[in-house]
């Protein structure tokens, strides 16, 4: 599933740039803490530990994905409101929201490209949605999509 998702994201990216699609997954030496390139990853534990979930597109509600890869701690737990750290292995800034729908009515937290952070005390376990705000289309439309 993970390989499929990474391939899907990568294929969409290549298609955007070149109008073509990939026939096979590219080798990725650019994983960060297991997080595939071109993805935002949420980890069940702080310090990028425990199980993680990866996202190639923005998502208005993280309630339909679970921590699926990596460590065993948290494996199978819903991502929404249960993440303790995040890796942004993408070339764009990511913003994570306290509320679903990328509506930052209470709080949001932004993460620069190619970096990892533990969530602050309140965003920990209050991650409900996210997007890459400087980029268009699927990366910032905040659609509620199933990326599991």
């Amino acid at each position: 599933m993970r390989a499929k998702r990474v391939l899907t994201g990568l294929a969409a990216f290549v298609a955007v740039l070149t109008g073509t699609s990939l026939a096979a997954p590219a080798a990725s030496a650019a994983d960060l803490y297991g997080c595939p390139d071109f993805n935002l990853c949420f980890y069940f534990n702080s310090g990028f530990e425990g199980a993680f979930a990866n996202y190639a597109y923005s998502d208005g509600n993280l309630d339909n994905e679970v921590f699926r890869w990596g460590g065993t701690n948290g494996r199978g737990v819903q991502v929404k409101n249960n993440a303790a750290s995040v890796i942004n292995n993408e070339g764009w800034t990511a913003t994570v929201y306290y509320n679903s729908g990328c509506n930052g009515s209470v709080a949001s937290q932004s993460f620069g490209m190619y970096g990892g952070h533990d969530f602050t005390a309140t965003m920990k376990n209050n991650n409900a949605s996210f997007k890459w705000p400087s980029v268009g289309g699927l990366f910032s439309d905040c659609g509620n999509r199933d990326q599991d």
């Binding site: 070339g91 990328c102 009515s105 209470v106």
Partner: protein
């Protein structure tokens, strides 16, 4: 007009109700109100909240706003680019626009009549025109220099520890942790949760609900309207716009914003002294990273 005494009298019964609700809930996390001196906070709420002006809060001093967060990220991106250049790699990274890209917080829910009439409850930023791919993603050999997964010399110079991103983080913040201040942010959001449960805010929510009901919309409080699942996909319907527009009108009638601000200021005033050392340190940390970032951004 309501008096602080009246709120204090009701606080005991309310605290018991909150405790009962917490016990009935399934979450193992401690309630935001646990150990909080609600009486002390209510004593600080002005008797007449209609006199409250502005939206500023005490914790703002040590918090990065969403725009400031992106100012720091913009500077970090510039430093990464400069580092790449020093290693013989010319690559234009994401163009961060703090004002354009920052979250527009709705701390008090939807309060803008113009937004309500156009977007309902949706975030207007979601509908802003964006290029599909405004910046090329760096290729893997460049990413490896940014992240430090590649070591040794590149362009005749050693890749710094943690890559160009690590070097940028160290330049912006002495602890190499640029970004939001964790204690301040956590306290701010704890204060938000406490504020939501206080008698003055609950009373304002009741007034708001009555006002909404007059227009035929039945919600327990502003959160319920904004989080209505019917308002979560696609563009706003005529019904959503009608609810949102009435929501803004009823918030004005219920004195929602000044009530919320008055209470939240009081709540933060009670929380802050317990974390004075951490908050002073974070205020310095915030000012330092902003100063560096603005020097880089120009």
């Amino acid at each position: 007009m309501v008096t602080s005494d009246r709120w204090r009298r009701r606080a005991g019964a309310f605290a018991a109700a909150v405790a009962a609700a917490a016990l009935a809930g399934c979450s193992a996390a401690p309630a935001a109100t646990s150990g909080f001196d609600l009486d002390a906070a209510l004593a600080k709420v002005p008797a007449d909240v209609s006199t409250v002006r502005g939206l500023d809060l005490p914790l703002d001093r040590s918090l990065l706003t969403p725009v400031e967060e992106l100012e720091v990220i913009k500077a970090r991106t510039t430093l990464i680019e400069r580092c790449l250049t020093a290693h013989g790699i010319g690559f234009a990274l994401e163009a961060v626009d703090p004002v354009r890209d920052a979250t527009k917080l709705r701390r008090h829910g939807l309060v803008d009549a113009g937004e309500a009439a156009t977007y309902g409850y949706r975030d207007p930023a979601v509908f802003a025109a964006r290029s599909e791919a405004p910046a090329r993603r760096p290729p893997p050999d460049v990413v490896s220099v940014i992240t430090g997964t590649r070591t040794g010399k590149v362009g005749g110079r050693d890749v710094p520890p943690g890559g160009c991103a690590g070097e940028a983080d160290r330049a912006i913040a002495p602890d190499a942790k640029p970004g939001q201040e964790p204690v301040s942010f956590g306290l701010s959001n704890r204060g938000y949760e406490i504020t939501r449960t206080t008698p003055p805010v609950a009373a304002a929510a009741t007034k708001w609900s009555r006002c909404m009901a007059e227009a035929g919309f039945r919600y327990d409080g502003p959160d319920a309207a904004m989080n209505d699942p019917a308002f979560s996909a696609g563009r706003a319907s005529a019904h959503e716009i009608a609810v949102a527009t009435q929501d803004v009108r009823c918030k004005e009638r219920a004195g929602w914003v000044p009530t919320w601000v008055a209470v939240e200021r009081a709540v933060q005033d009670v929380l802050i002294p317990q974390y004075a050392g951490d908050l002073a340190r974070e205020r310095q940390h915030k000012e330092r990273q902003l100063e560096v970032a603005r020097g880089i951004n120009g």
